[in-house]
Structure formats: structure tokens, C-alpha cells
């Protein structure tokens, strides 16, 4: 039996013609992983100071093929359409790789000073980024699942990196268990999707779903729901957000930044793939589901964030609320698909810049305060005015105050919701407006504590030096946050997807 199978496979075998250029960013990342492991295996402990440098250079080199691919333009389709490199996937790959580079900058001192395992840290980080870049191009159920596992499994380990701290172990454990649970739900959804579509390729599934029509096929609804729920865990949408605050608080803060930005963006990318290439023919199911997810996420996230006393936990709940804002364009997806997509990807890019910046500031401040409790931030302005101003700027951007990037991101989503001119769109826009006001309270509370409160007892108001890596990442993210707000064309030129073809 096996012999005949291998015989048949071999007889029909032709060496595939692979577009190496389209694969170049992934290949560079794989090479970086191999080099990291090799250097670690050869030099052992002496390799520790080299690791962040190798990881950083690898990520920077991976940007070069992205730039050449973008310069050439066009859509490259590999493996009979299972793997597509187009303008959207290039923008998202750039987002992942640049975010990871900033996380490497943030980690360098944290990991070295904390005396944690170093080479494995960067190897796993890059492996996770590799999964994200694969995710951005996959147009196939199997490819999406493999990418999802490749990006998640290293992240489970990274979340538990502070081995000696029970809270970090708790973070890793919760993330792992919830992640596996989500994978199981997702796989069930995928199996139903495959049953409905008769193919693992998203475009073909989309075509089949269209042929099924809209009546009497409850299995399509089930497939869609399970798939969306699987990814909703990843983007920490309410009611699938339970892991996020504990994981964010317990994990090493640079890893938290990575999870909150890159990992969440990867979840959204996966949602974009399945919604836009496969389920877009059923807006009657998609739109209400995303309306509920979006409203629940922003409302619950914001209300719980009001009561937080730890800045990292507050940022976790704010991340849940922001995920709600990012889910909103899906709720009006049928009216103007490419406008919704543009609003969403623009939000992802701007959110990455401002959230990474906020985490960078928290990491820098925690080097002094030794905690992320809001009380310990009191009177920070008197002795570390630069960081205070930077964090305030990022919080203002997260709030959505013009002329910062966060304002334009929110504006884009509002515009899409209102232009759709549907009941779902209008109601969601109103709920979003209310939530934006609620969010201002907790962001400003941190700012007030830093600017107006007294320095807490027993703290010598002496600043500590911020390492160059963190300073650079704060400068870069701050520059981008301001640039995207003042000159939105800088990001909208990249995220104009009106030419991208969707659906079956």
C-alpha cells in the first residue's frame, strides 16, 4: 500500500519552481535561528553578549528583501495559491519584523541583567516572528494553523521566562492552557470549514460557501463561529480575554510588549485571512458576531481597566479595549471591504508604534521603581522628566488625542463605521465614542500620578540611566506615533488595499 503510494508520488514528481525572492524574508529568519543555535552550541556561555546583536542584525537583514519585494510590487503566488506575497502581507511582515527588532532592543538589558537564559530567548523570539511572517502570507488552512502554532509555542515559553518567579510560571501556564484550548476550538472550526469547502485553500472554500447559499446550512455558521472564536483568544477579545491580564503581568515586560503588539497583530492577520478570503460571502453571520465581540471587548476592557492599580495590568486591559476597536471594522465588512481592511491595518500599525512605546517607557521607569504599581510612579516628573513626558505622549496617543497617531487610527475606524450607514455601524460608532471617553480616565490617572503626586516615602528621587537600546526604541516609536498623526499619508499610502482581490 505504502509502496504504491510512494511510487505514485515519485512518478508524478517534478521539482517545484520556487520563487526564492518571495521567500527571502522567511529564509533570512530561518538562517538567523540556525546561526543563533550554532553560535550557542559552539561558544556556550561566552556567546551570551553576542546573542542580541545576532538577533537584531538578522531582523534588520530580513527587512531588505521586504523592501526589494515592495519596490517590485505585484502579487506573487506560490504553491498553487497557498502562499501569497502581496502588498498587504508585505506591510504586515514589516510590522512584525520591526516590532520584534524593538522588542530585541528592549530585551537586551532586561535579559542580561536578570541573568536569564539568553540564546534560547532570542532563538524563540525569532522563531515566533517567523511564524508571524508565514501567517501573513498563508492562504491555506494548514498553512495558517502551522503558522499559528509556530508563533504561539515559543511565546508560551517566553511568557514563563522568569523561572524563579511563580507569577511568571503562572503567566506561562495560563497562556499555554488557554492557547491550547483555543487551538482545539480552532481546529474543530477548521475541520468543519474543510468539510464545507472540500479544500484547504481559502479561495476555494470561499467559492464553495458561496455555492451553498445562505439558507439551511447551519454547518457554515458553526464553522465560522468556531474559527473566529479560536482567533478571538489570540487577539484577547472579550469573552476570551481571561488569560491576558495575568499573562501580561507575570511575563517579562519585553515579552509582554511582544505579546501585546506582535502576537495580537498576528491574530488579527489570521482573522483577516479567513474572513476576507473565505467567509466574506456570508456577511449576515460575520457582521453580528464581530459586533458582539467588538462591543464586549471595548466595554468590558475599559470598565475593568478603570480599577487597575498596576500599569502593566492597566495596559493589558487597555489592550483588550483596543482589540475591540480593531474588531469594529469587521462588523461593517460587507459595505466596503477594502476600506474596512485599510482601517484595520492602519490601526494595527499605529497601535504597534504607540503600545511598544508605552511598554518601553514602563520598562525604563521600572528599572528605577522596581515595580509597575501606579503608586510607585508618583512624582516621577520631578526626577525623570524625559520619561514622564514620553509615557504621557504614548498614553495620550492610546487615548486618541490629536495630533497623535492614535487619533488617526480611531478616526479611520469611525469613518468606516459611519460610511457603512448600517444600523450595526452607527450603533457601534456611538458605543465606541462613549468608550473612548471612559478610556481617557484611566490613561490620565497614570499621567496625573506621574506629574502631580508626591514622590512616595522611601524613594530617593535620583534618576537611573536608561540604556541606549531602550532610549532608541522610545525615540523611534515616539517619532512614528507623532508622524502617523501629523502625516497620516505615511501609513495610509502603505495600507491602501483597494487593489487587493478578496473572496471566492
Amino acid at each position: 500500500m505504502l509502496a504504491t503510494l510512494t511510487q505514485a508520488a515519485a512518478d508524478s514528481f517534478q521539482s517545484p519552481s520556487i520563487d526564492w525572492h518571495a521567500f527571502a524574508p522567511e529564509l533570512v529568519l530561518i538562517a538567523t535561528i540556525v546561526i543563533l543555535v550554532l553560535v550557542d552550541a559552539v561558544k556556550l556561555e561566552r556567546a551570551r553578549p553576542l546573542m542580541p546583536a545576532i538577533a537584531g542584525i538578522g531582523l534588520l537583514v530580513a527587512i531588505i528583501p521586504l523592501a526589494t519585494l515592495a519596490a517590485e510590487g505585484g502579487t506573487r503566488s506560490l504553491f498553487e495559491g497557498s502562499y501569497v506575497v502581496d502588498s498587504m502581507s508585505l506591510v504586515l511582515k514589516a510590522l512584525f519584523i520591526v516590532s520584534a527588532y524593538i522588542v530585541v532592543l528592549l530585551s537586551t538589558n532586561y535579559v542580561a541583567e536578570g541573568d536569564y537564559w539568553e540564546s534560547e530567548y532570542y532563538t524563540l523570539l525569532i522563531a515566533s516572528v517567523l511564524g508571524m511572517t508565514v501567517m501573513a502570507s498563508s492562504r491555506d488552512l494548514v498553512g495558517i494553523f502551522v503558522a499559528l502554532e509556530l508563533l504561539s509555542i515559543p511565546a508560551y515559553m517566553l511568557a514563563a521566562w522568569r523561572k524563579g518567579d511563580p507569577r511568571s510560571n503562572e503567566a506561562g501556564m495560563k497562556y499555554y492552557l488557554m492557547g491550547v484550548f483555543a487551538s482545539a476550538i480552532l481546529l474543530y472550526g477548521f475541520s468543519l470549514t474543510y468539510g464545507v469547502g472540500g479544500s484547504t485553500r481559502l479561495t476555494e472554500i470561499g467559492r464553495s460557501i458561496q455555492e451553498w447559499g445562505t439558507d439551511g446550512v447551519p454547518v457554515v455558521t458553526l464553522a465560522l463561529l468556531f474559527t473566529i472564536i479560536g482567533f478571538a483568544f489570540k487577539v484577547s477579545a472579550v469573552p476570551f480575554h481571561m488569560w491576558a491580564p495575568d499573562t501580561y503581568e507575570g511575563a517579562p515586560t519585553p515579552v509582554t510588549a511582544f505579546l501585546a503588539v506582535a502576537s495580537k497583530a498576528a491574530g488579527f492577520v489570521a482573522l483577516i485571512q479567513v474572513v476576507y478570503y473565505c467567509f466574506i460571502v456570508r456577511p449576515d453571520i460575520i457582521e453580528p458576531v464581530f459586533w458582539v465581540l467588538s462591543v464586549a471587548s471595548m466595554t468590558v476592557g475599559n470598565l475593568i481597566a478603570l480599577r487597575q492599580t498596576n500599569v502593566v495590568r492597566m495596559l493589558a486591559y487597555s489592550g483588550i479595549a483596543q482589540a475591540g476597536f480593531m474588531l469594529a471594522p469587521f462588523a461593517v465588512v460587507a459595505s466596503d471591504p477594502s476600506a474596512s481592511l485599510t482601517a484595520l491595518v492602519t490601526y494595527l500599525v499605529i497601535y504597534a508604534a504607540m503600545n511598544l512605546g508605552a511598554f518601553a517607557c514602563v520598562i525604563a521607569i521600572s528599572r528605577k521603581t522596581r515595580s509597575a504599581e501606579m503608586d510607585s510612579f508618583g512624582g516621577l516628573f520631578t526626577y525623570m522628566p524625559g520619561l514622564t513626558a514620553a509615557l504621557t505622549l504614548f498614553l495620550a496617543s492610546l487615548m486618541g488625542i490629536p495630533p497623535l497617531g492614535g487619533w488617526f487610527a480611531k478616526f479611520g475606524v469611525f469613518a468606516v463605521l459611519v460610511n457603512a450607514d448600517t444600523g450595526l455601524g452607527w450603533s457601534l460608532a456611538i458605543i465606541m465614542a462613549v468608550n473612548t471617553v471612559i478610556a481617557a480616565y484611566y490613561y490620565l490617572r497614570v499621567a496625573r500620578s506621574m506629574w502631580f503626586d508626591d514622590v512616595p516615602e522611601g524613594v530617593d528621587a535620583v534618576p537611573v540611566r536608561t540604556p541606549a537600546g531602550i532610549t532608541i526604541s522610545i525615540a523611534v516609536t515616539m517619532g512614528l506615533t507623532v508622524l502617523f498623526g501629523v502625516l497620516p499619508a505615511a501609513v495610509t499610502n502603505l495600507t491602501d488595499f483597494s487593489s487587493v482581490a478578496f473572496g471566492g
Partner: protein, 126 residues
């Protein structure tokens, strides 16, 4: 109702469900019958865990060596490698140079893992 592919699909589940429940009923029936006819004498020894006739010693919770796990992990790595190599080896000439290079890249990356494990001292049984 016209037979659609989906209802055919669901009907095969129905067959599976009928056979599954028949299995449960059969086993349950036999257990119930033996409950009716067997003698019923309680003894403390009957509630001990069975360890090949030896009295169990110590607590139920025991720690096992993590190194067994690591060796198992390394074994799985090369076990899975074999799954890919055997079919490839049966028809290696058909895959040509491309197949050869591909397989060596694959084995090379896996070997890298072994080298890493060896250098980190995992292979020492100390």
C-alpha cells in the same frame, strides 16, 4: 427531501452513532448481568492498587527524572525524521538533485538540534 452531500455526510455519522450506542448497551448489559450473578464480599486488600501482587509502598505522587523526558524528546525528533526519510529513500532517483539537497538540509537542521543538545550537556547521564 432530495439527498444532498451534507445529509449523506451526516447519515454516516448516524451509522457511527448507532453502532457506538450498541457497543455501550452491550457492555453495560454484560456488566449488569455479572453484577446480578457474582458474589459480593468487601475486603480491604481489594481496594489497594495492583502492583503485580506486591503491596504498594510509598505515596502515589512520585517525581520522575526530567532526563527521561529529554531523551524521549530527542528520540521523537529522529523518529519523525525516519518517517520522512523512508519514503524518500525508496524512490530517491525520481526526486533527483532537488530531493537530495532538500533531504540533506532537513537532516542538517535536525542534526543541529542534536549538536545543541550535546553541547548543552543533555546527553550526559549524570
Amino acid at each position: 427531501m432530495a439527498s444532498s452531500p451534507l445529509s449523506d455526510f451526516l447519515r454516516s455519522y448516524l451509522t457511527a452513532a448507532i453502532f457506538g450506542s450498541l457497543g455501550f448497551i452491550l457492555v453495560g448489559l454484560l456488566l449488569f448481568l455479572s453484577y446480578l450473578v457474582r458474589p459480593n464480599r468487601h475486603q480491604a486488600q481489594k481496594y489497594l492498587s495492583y502492583e503485580s501482587g506486591v503491596d504498594p509502598v510509598g505515596s502515589l505522587w512520585s517525581q520522575s527524572q526530567i532526563r527521561y523526558y529529554i531523551f524521549a524528546l530527542l528520540f521523537v525528533m529522529f523518529d519523525v525524521e525516519a518517517v520522512f526519510i523512508f519514503p524518500w529513500a525508496t524512490r530517491v532517483e525520481a526526486y533527483g538533485v532537488f530531493g537530495l539537497v532538500e533531504m540533506f538540509v532537513f537532516i542538517g537542521v535536525l542534526l543541529l538540534g542534536l549538536v545543541y543538545a550535546w553541547r548543552k550537556g543533555v546527553l550526559k547521564w549524570a
